[in-house]
Symmetry: none
DNA sequence: TATGAATGAGAGTTCATTCAT
DNA sequence: AATGAATGAACTCTCATTCAT
């Protein structure tokens, strides 16, 4: 009988291989978009043979879905950790924006791919993206926007729609580069724009 | 020399053919994205043989660029006409949003394709899009936002960056559908969100 | 009833059109070879619409055959005239070479196309070429080589095969350019080579 | 690291596949010329799928160049071996002609394709052909013609130009078939023709 | 488990030819 | 007689996927 601990070692190796492939795929998807992305190139970039990639992912499509799940998870975890560390709703807003923009700044490549997918023509990809980002929408609407409204920090808006709009805005601004390769807006400008819109009139901003 | 009037008639027919092809292309590009768009399908949808498409556009790429130019022109003209008909900056804002959202609502397919392109990986397409939309950015920043700031209707923001952000937002919201096929937000919500952000504090909104 | 003389005028115009098309075709066939030759380009170069070319020649193939016939006729007439003007067989040889090389020099483009065709894979074209050049072979073997042998100027060779070989050599050398664009050999060298081979030993050459 | 010997075995298989494709290509190029040659037909003739051909050669053009290199190598090796086995310049001439004509007779298909290419309109193909045949020209002029002149066997001719002419003649005669499918001349006739031209007058030929 | 040569459906593009004007 | 827009068969090339080693 095969010893159990060996299996564990193998699992770890496989997890690592899987991750390497997904990372290479992210790069490729971000640079070329899903359709122009080339599985052979992904395999090469990951340091494996094409067959190996197909041992882990039965198709390019599944690889894309895995990448979407992966990045959504990462994004959600990243933002969740930072937001949850704050107790006060007002602080949570700031934390959310800081974390969201920081994520886009850190994972520009991936954010680009995600935004690309969000606006791409593939229904399944978009649906999967929504699904993966569900916790973030939840967090935003239930733990950030709704309490802020309740506290009177934000004016009355639809928390769910607003959550979607915020995602659209910060993924969009974070992946828009001018032909000269510069970002359109810096994040503080964007945060300013959004907070100006959401904050209720009673206070002065910043 | 060939008679001139005959040439004119022929030119008109050719213009019409060209337009039919571009319209079919718009549909195809919007539904499938550039890469998955199929030139044979475009030809068929336009009611011509494949060769005819290539008599007008030397490549799929050029056809795409022609579509981009075309839709940018349309969009610009559409919005420009409505905005210019208002004299008061405050009214112009409203007119701009009304026109912009109306455009996206009327030409949802095309707006989708444009937004898709705006966020796609192809540099040349993006550059061409920017170029085509230049007059709209100009209008927004010079004739709408800047005067509104001057009049004290808007708070101090960077007119150019804001113009870009507005485009991002209304093209984005106008082409986002939930998996169930419904728009995320209606345009009044979006206009509200934006105006809340831009209007200076002195007045009450809505 | 249509007047006869009008018909004659029309015929002349048509002859001229036909000739213009063939000349443009010669250029195209020489530069690009039959397969890459483009009928639209031929029409344009000739100054006519594509339809006009097809009014004169029912297919690209027939146009090629017409060109082959045309150039063969030209070549044959050209050489024949010069050779026939000499009475002495010895002089006829010189005349033949002079005329042959002069032809290749004058009509390099056409000679190239002809040589190209001679060595190309198309059986029908080659057969037509042979047919067109029949009078030249005849002349060469019957009126030049054979008499020269009879007079003892040439050694005993097969007149027909030698005629073919001579054609091969002077069309070949006349259309061979080094990558730098220069002719390999000048014609006197080639003539020297050939005459050295054919002349009987009794005399000194040149 | 992957074991080395396995790589070797695989390399051998790949070399064989490559060779099979080139051989099928030779046939196709010879029969139809480069332009009419069909890559699908080549793949089929080689016993592979179309994709396999493109795994080895990135384009039809590159396949053609590989074929040209291949046949030049073969031709050069073939003739070189036979000529080098003779020490006496006089014998080398005979050996060269024997080998050259034998090659053309053995590889008629390929010779046809090569001659076709030599006289075709494609500059790059011609240049590549020259490059590949360089050693043969070298051999002919330096080791065959020049020594023969030095020994007084040949009259004073330009060795380089003459080498070119000889190539032209024997590739030309070796690939010319009458419409009835027979060779124009047999090789002894051609050799005779050439030697009569080159040999110095002091001796009687045949 | 990893490999990578082989596969072949599918897509973009060309261009000789037609025919209504 | 001249025109040229329309046609579509044919061709080159790509690349996701398979499977024997």
């Amino acid at each position: 009988m095969a010893p159990r601990y060996k299996k564990t070692v193998r699992d770890e190796v496989m997890q690592e291989t899987r991750q390497l492939v997904i990372e290479a795929a992210a790069e490729e998807f971000a640079h070329n978009g899903y359709d122009k992305a080339n599985v052979n190139r992904i395999a090469e970039a990951a340091g494996f043979a094409i067959g190996t990639v197909y041992n882990y992912f039965p198709s390019k499509r599944v690889l894309m879905l895995a990448f979407v799940d992966d990045i959504a998870q990462l994004h959600v975890d990243y933002v969740l950790a930072q937001v949850k560390s704050e107790q006060d709703p007002g602080q949570r807003i700031e934390a959310f924006f800081k974390a969201g923009f920081a994520f886009v700044e850190t994972y520009t490549t991936q954010a680009k791919a995600i935004f690309n997918t969000l606006n791409g023509p593939d229904e399944e990809f978009r649906a999967r993206l929504f699904q993966g980002y569900q916790p973030l929408f939840q967090l935003l609407s239930d733990d950030v926007i709704a309490p802020s409204i309740a506290q009177g920090d934000f004016r009355q808006v639809d928390p769910v729609a607003t959550a979607g709009l915020l995602m659209l805005i910060y993924l969009g601004t974070g992946s828009q580069f001018s032909p000269e390769g510069e970002l359109w807006m810096d994040y503080t400008q964007v945060a300013d724009f959004v907070l100006h819109s959401l904050k209720s009139g009673k206070e002065n901003l910043r």
